[in-house]
């Protein structure tokens, strides 16, 4: 190496931090602008935010969130118990089929529920054939929103709870039994405390999902924040109000995170004595088998069979008037390409952030990565609104372009890619890096030659998860998609709002099919030895331990 003057160089750690700072800024600046804009409305804005009609929206959102969490617990916990601990017919089948409810986007769940149980839905047709009936009670409003969201969020509770039930030491419960406790007491005093962190983590996921869900509340016309924001944004001249509502929703979300932090304090259930943990034996539940089957069948019927069935029936439905059939090729190409671009961008950006997290000394790095989660916890409609406001003001050239849409997706789904890459990177020994550096490799060469190849599985899993999420995404796409750019989700949305059901069937089924394949692929990968921890369902299994960070990642995946 020749001696000579050399420019001072960022060392690798600094370079990583630089990238992390830039990423965090890109994610956070638009949100900061949104907050500024909302607070800029001043006293008048505050008065508007505090008037009874606005507060009703707040109450609506809270009511919906609390009831959905309760509903998801009521379904998820028994489901976890049954599939983890009990012997009943077709146990494995119900497990997989039940989990498939997660792939149904909320807007599809809601429109198909409405088609089945609406005032003049399929159920009405059945009943009206038997007796005179004008119409069924309208399920729209709280009940419809509650049902649609509960039906797709209960796995957030069931999966982590099941992981705990499978992984906990049977000796604990046996000891309690031998000390004279009844079954119910054992559950209440031993099992439930063990489950508590998992339930708290799962409830947080359900609550965050509910607060940020747009599709179901819009279809069911329940005036929660997301719908109110969208209405203000699309049908009013006064856009400050949408910003004010968005700020209120941000505050509510932050409050929720704080609440979970306080309630979800971890309690240990570790084995202290010597000896290895025994495998669990499945319980025989005797004649309770049949109610168990009925329970699972009902969930699968409502959550999976119903959407597929209704969409299928729409396929053959005659178009009512000269509807131009959707250009499926174009629709598929657009959806696939925006999803692929967003997924790649997220995958690439996630790598430096995940690498930064490997150095665990830095407080700053943890904060930075934590901050990038912001875009993910926040509802899509809020992120989209922030970007629109920001771009209209500061980046006119970006306004209504694909890059801005991609930025919206990356903001929302980056944490997912970070978690997946991080899990994979953690299993790589630091000795490898030291050896490579010792052999004269540059830092970037180390990244390309050591980290990327070894963590490939995790990085790809992250990219795949982002792809699946973007494909189904509705609110961000609705607000940010440039003129003429249509994805499956926005196509379904606009067709539904014009009651053109015949052109929803195809894209809807395709969306469900691809998502289901994705989920199954991820589930199968899990079972391979050496699969990257941190991908897919492994995240769920780890929930109790690292509830917060990973919970967020899972949330995005399942959305």
């Amino acid at each position: 190496m020749t001696a000579g003057p050399r420019l001072p160089r960022l060392d690798r750690h600094q370079a990583l931090q630089f990238i992390a700072v830039v990423t965090a800024l890109v994610v956070l600046l638009p949100l900061a602008w949104l907050v500024l804009r909302a607070t800029g409305a001043g006293a008048e804005g505050l008065a508007w935010a505090l008037r009874p009609r606005t507060l009703t929206i707040l109450v609506n959102s809270i009511v919906l969130t609390v009831t959905v969490v309760a509903g998801a617990l009521a379904i998820g916990l028994p489901f976890a118990w049954l599939t983890a601990r009990c012997e009943f017919p077709l146990r494995r089948f119900w497990l997989i089929a039940g989990l498939l409810t997660m792939v149904v986007p909320s807007y599809l769940g809601a429109v198909t529920l409405l088609a089945a149980f609406g005032p003049r839905g399929l159920l009405y047709d059945l009943l009206a054939a038997l007796m005179p009936l004008e119409r069924l009670p309208d399920m729209r409003g709280w009940f419809g929103a509650w049902l649609s969201i509960t039906l797709i969020t209960w796995p957030f509770i069931a999966l982590p709870a099941r992981a705990v039930l499978l992984g906990s030491d049977p000796a604990l419960e046996e000891a309690a039994r031998s000390l004279g406790l009844g079954r119910w007491q054992v559950f209440r005093r031993v099992t439930l405390p063990l489950l508590r962190p998992a339930l708290a983590g799962g409830s947080l996921l359900v609550a965050l999902y509910t607060l940020s869900d747009f599709g179901a509340v819009a279809v069911m016309r329940y005036n929660a924040f997301t719908r109110a924001i969208y209405l203000q944004y699309t049908s009013s001249f006064d856009r400050e109000r949408a910003a004010i509502l968005a700020l209120m929703l941000i505050l509510l979300t932050l409050f929720l995170l704080l609440l979970e932090r306080r309630l979800g304090q971890q309690r240990g259930g570790a084995r202290l004595g010597a000896g290895a943990q025994r495998r669990l034996e499945l319980q025989q539940i005797g004649r309770w088998r049949w109610p168990a089957v009925l329970f699972c069948a009902l969930l699968v019927a409502l959550g999976v069979a119903l959407p597929v069935g209704v969409l299928g029936s729409w396929l053959t439905r005659r178009a009512l008037f000269n509807v131009t059939a959707p250009d499926m090729g174009m629709l598929t190409a657009t959806t696939a390409s925006v999803s692929a671009l967003a997924a790649l961008a997220a995958g690439v950006l996630a790598l430096p952030l995940a690498l930064l997290l490997r150095r665990r000394h830095s407080r700053l790095s943890h904060w930075l990565v934590a901050l990038t989660h912001g875009g993910n916890v926040l509802p899509g409609i809020v992120v989209a609104l922030a970007l629109v406001f920001f771009a209209a003001r500061f980046l006119p050239a970006w306004y209504q372009t694909v890059p801005l849409l991609l930025l919206g997706y990356v903001t929302r789904f980056l944490p997912l890619a970070i978690s997946a890459s991080r899990g994979a990177l953690e299993s790589i020994s630091p000795r490898l890096e030291e050896a490579a550096r010792g052999l004269g490799q540059r830092p970037w060469q180390v990244v390309l030659r050591i980290y990327v190849p070894l963590a490939r599985a995790g990085i790809l899993a992250g990219i795949a998860l982002v792809f699946l999420s973007v494909m189904k995404e509705l609110p961000t796409t609705l607000v940010l998609a440039p003129i003429g750019t249509r994805t499956f989700a926005t196509h379904i949305w606009s067709a539904y709002s014009e009651a053109l059901l015949s052109i929803i069937g195809g894209p809807g089924l395709l969306l469900l099919g691809v998502s289901a394949l994705g989920l199954i692929a991820i589930l199968l990968r899990e079972r391979q030895p050496g699969a990257a921890p941190g991908s897919g369902v492994a995240l769920l299994r780890e929930l109790p331990r690292r509830a917060r960070a990973h919970a967020l990642a899972v949330l995005v995946h399942l959305r």
Binding site: R221, N223, A228, S236, A336, A392, Y399, I483
Partner: protein, 337 residues
């Protein structure tokens, strides 16, 4: 690793080519507050005939108007097609519209369908009506209402549908404000809500709901029913025009305007000329069943002639306080349902 890289690069290249073209200068950017199913094919044929490339942003009329205001100088909109005179008037009031050439304005036969300042003009006419199912009415022992104001009566509880986020409905509310005052309009909306009015996102689902018997009647534009009838003549639903200059019998227009910031005013004018020409007007009369606005094209025979509709005494250019209407609708609680 190598195959992966190849795969990724291929994907990238394919993605970029598959994405619709980003905004280019020689493309006519149309903001359409009218549904794609109503004007999409017409716009396509304009593009085919004229060779002018177009891109269309479909959205709600009020939302697009507010978007043009928000975008200001940066607005990519070269032409704005609205389903309501009120939104056009609101943009005119903001000083965002360019004056249209005399010869274009002169094509429209009724001077009431043109802005007094020549800032917007009508492309087609439409009447607000009550669509109803005769069977449902008979079953419930209901008579046709004399006025839109009668729909708050107990006998109509839960039987009427409306679409408070729809531009044409909002224009009707603006007209009611002009005719009855804000207070009475607000009270009417609140009484409707108290009377369990059923909410729909747009006009089409309302007509569908009436056909399905989900509701007995709904407040819509006149033409949606004809589109259903064209496919299925056995549909029994009918239209009721409120008599005697009732505020519910507003005759409104769908129209167009060219923003001052339009980068393609000539192409925009060509599009307006096309839509006011024989092809355009025939499309509106035979495909969307609206009223023509030029002299030599006859309306569809199925339609009640425009002159027979007893419209309220109102100037379309006066219904431009869209924001006031949106506030009032919001205040009434119609959006919370």
């Amino acid at each position: 690793m190598r195959t992966l890289a190849v795969l990724i690069v291929t994907l990238l290249v394919q993605s970029l080519t598959a994405l619709p073209a980003l905004a280019q200068d020689d493309i006519l950017t149309i903001y359409s507050g009218r549904n794609e199913s109503l004007v999409g094919p017409l716009l396509e044929s304009f593009s085919d005939i004229s060779g002018i490339e177009i891109e269309v942003l479909y959205g709600g009329t009020a939302g697009l108007a507010s978007q043009i205001i928000e975008e200001g100088e940066n607005s990519p909109a070269d032409i704005f097609i609205a389903q309501d005179a009120g939104a056009l008037g609101a943009l005119a009031k903001e000083g965002l519209l360019a004056e249209l050439p005399e010869d274009l304005l002169g094509l429209v036969s009724d001077p009431a369908f043109v802005s007094p300042d020549g800032l917007w003009l009508a492309l087609s006419g439409r009447a607000r009506v009550l669509v109803y199912g005769p069977d449902a009415l008979e079953m419930a022992g209901l008579d046709l209402p004399e006025s839109i104001l009668d729909l708050t009566g107990e006998e109509w509880r839960g039987k009427v549908g409306w679409a408070p986020t729809n531009g044409s409905f909002q224009a009707n509310i603006t007209a009611m404000r002009q005719l009855l005052g804000d207070e009475a309009t607000l009270a009417w909306m609140q009484d409707m809500i108290a009377n369990d009015v059923q909410v729909y996102p747009k006009n089409t689902p309302i007509v569908q709901a009436v056909i399905d018997g989900e509701i007995a009647a709904g407040l819509v534009n006149h033409y949606y029913l004809f589109r259903f009838l064209a496919e299925d003549p056995s549909i029994t639903a009918q239209l009721h025009f409120f008599p005697g200059g009732d505020p519910g019998a507003l005759v409104n227009i769908a129209g167009a305007a060219i923003p001052l910031t339009s980068g393609q005013p000539e192409a925009a004018e060509a599009l307006i000329r096309f839509m006011l020409g024989e092809v355009g007007q025939t499309w509106f009369t035979t495909k969307t069943y609206e009223y023509p606005v030029v002299a030599d094209i006859p309306p569809s025979v199925q339609l009640k002639p425009l002159v027979e509709i007893e419209t309220p005494d109102l100037d379309l250019s006066d219904i431009d306080d869209l924001q006031g209407t949106l506030d009032l609708i919001e205040e009434s609680g119609a959006l919370d349902q």
